[in-house]
Amino acid sequence: MSSRYSWGADEHLVVQITEDMRLESNFKAMAMASDLESQEVDGLTDICPANASLLVRFDPDRIAPAEVERIVREAEDRLEGGGPQVLETRIFELPVWYNDPYTNETGARFRDRHQTPDKTDLEFAALENNLPTVEAFIEAHSGSPWITSMVGFVAGLPFLFQMVPQERQLEVPKYVRPRTDTPKLTVGYGGCFTAIYSVRGAGGYQMFGITPVPIFDPAQSSADFEDSMFFFRPGDIVKFRPVDEAEYREIEREVEAGAYRVRQRPVTFDLNEYEKDPDAYNARLLEVLYGN
């Protein structure tokens, strides 16, 4: 498996790791980005791991493109050397009110752009994945954790890939034509990715629910945003927890009062250990999250 290197004119190098999405490709993008970040190379202005690729933006007035390529290839070679496949990251919990009235109302306004105008987004998603009910779909979506495989499109928007074997990946096509509106903090789905809309706006992902927890806060108004206005970082591991309306409202009040803190723990993600037995490994991750 060899990566494809390509120039994005004179300011970008793009490394396409695989054309398809798989956890190992994302892991490689994360690990290469982390390696490059740690070197603090002058002239590499933006190191952006994506789902199955890596984008490096550089200033050719400060570093020659050939030198950028050499450094990036070396980072890739180090990973191929058979060393430990580990990523220092964190795991956190995100409460989600699935099947909520906000996204359902928005979905209802745009039924003419949807594959099944007579069904909700969640009903469609359950059918597409041969699951008997909406509840079964929500269970599959919230049962296993997700890795933040990319942050982008707009400020602070995470793409998430579920940490389950490929035969258990949920797949749902995007809307036939994109909506012009999506509520802020909608938990959406397109292809094999969950996305959380960091800002209100246009969107083509199916809408499954909404989280009361802010993920992008330019004002940095609470402790979870002390260091950054963006909550999600590439490589973050996330567990969704379904909540009902009462708990959603309770968390919403805590957020408004500035008292809500996301439950989170530092964790080392080991790709080889994960691949031996994903479910058992995920259970251990959740022990880290919920243990004392």
């Binding site: 004119a9 952006c48 933006r57 990319m150 707009v154 330019p218 206005m229």
Partner: protein, 321 residues
């Protein structure tokens, strides 16, 4: 010292040289779309290159200056008025307290830059004063200017009567070359698709803003394939990836979009090449209807063009000091 916004013009925002370093969390570089014109405006009024200026698209604002000021207007070809009297572009101008700056109808180009000695003194956000509208931060209160806004101006002392030599002012042709480096996902195009991209001109549509410039003209053909897992069903889809600034994506195989400095940072459309850094200002000054020929160049040629653009800018700055 302040500037009162009497009429905002179109898509008028505060921009500087941009905000590198946050593309990995979806924040684009932003900054003036035509960096050369913005740099000229700053140099004319004695500002550092990093000072913030006012950028408008197609329609200039109407502004009142509360105190005496030295200003300069650069960028698009649009008649400038001070208190209703014609005033020159690409020159530093002395304004009195209460003077009003306004504009007539655009004759060529697309983006207008107004610098004032001292710079527009909005707060730095992530190291830049540039507006990033999708994120609703930076610039003046995280949004485009509106009637009634009062812009703070920093301390500065410009000198009136400076002028950018004619030969160092940009031109705004209706048909032009945009040099691109092919690559990224161009291997997904058929030979006919590649030919349609580079052998025939593209016309800029009215959908052209700080995020992207959408062109119309041809249809591109993609190679048939079984789509990889995660890549979406259309042949123009890829597994979502980072988008280089200046990259050309072609959703559905029609209407190529050049992403500009407020780019969405990534997504699921195949990109077939990237505009070289030296030609991003040319794209920025293209008005809808402009015909563009995408001309493939090598990375080495892109670097030579970059060096030439840098030398021209240095010559312009030297002419004003």
């Amino acid at each position: 010292m302040a500037i009162e916004v009497i009429e905002p013009g179109l898509a008028t925002s505060i921009q500087d040289e941009g905000r590198p370093g946050y593309y990995n969390v979806g924040v684009p570089p932003s900054g003036a779309l035509d960096l050369y014109s913005a740099a000229a405006a700053n140099a004319l009024v004695g500002n550092a290159p990093s000072a913030a200026v006012i950028e408008s698209a197609y329609m200039g604002p109407k502004l009142r200056f509360t105190e005496p000021a030295v200003i300069a207007v650069t960028g698009a070809d649009i008649p400038v008025l001070v208190n209703g009297q014609s005033a020159p572009r690409w020159e530093s101008l002395d304004l009195n307290a209460g003077d009003e700056l306004s504009f007539e109808i655009l004759a060529g180009g697309a983006r207008i830059y107004i610098a004032v000695a001292g710079g527009i003194d909005v707060p730095l956000v992530l190291g830049s004063r540039s507006l990033y509208a999708l994120g609703a931060f930076g610039g003046f209160q995280g949004r485009a200017l509106q009637t009634g806004d009062v812009l703070p101006v920093g301390a500065g002392s410009g000198r009136p009567g400076l002028s950018v030599p004619e030969a160092l002012r940009p031109e705004f042709p209706k048909e032009l070359d945009v040099r691109i480096v092919l690559g990224l996902y161009d291997y997904r195009l058929t030979d006919e698709g590649m030919s349609a991209l580079v052998d025939r001109p593209w016309q800029l549509s009215p959908v052209a803003d700080r995020i992207g410039f959408r062109y119309a003209g041809n249809a591109l053909q993609w190679k048939e394939r079984e789509q990889p897992f995660g890549a979406g069903s259309d042949p123009s889809n890829i597994t979502d990836a980072g988008y280089p600034v200046g990259s050309i994506q072609v959703p559905g195989g029609i209407e190529p979009i050049i992403l500009h400095r407020d780019a969405v940072s990534g997504g699921g459309y195949a990109q077939v090449g990237t505009v070289i850094s030296a030609d991003m200002d040319v794209v920025a000054q293209s008005a809808p209807g402009t015909l563009a020929h995408f001309v493939p160049v090598t990375l080495e040629e892109a670097l030579e063009a970059r060096a030439a653009a840098k030398a021209r800018r240095a010559e312009m700055i030297a002419a004003l000091s």
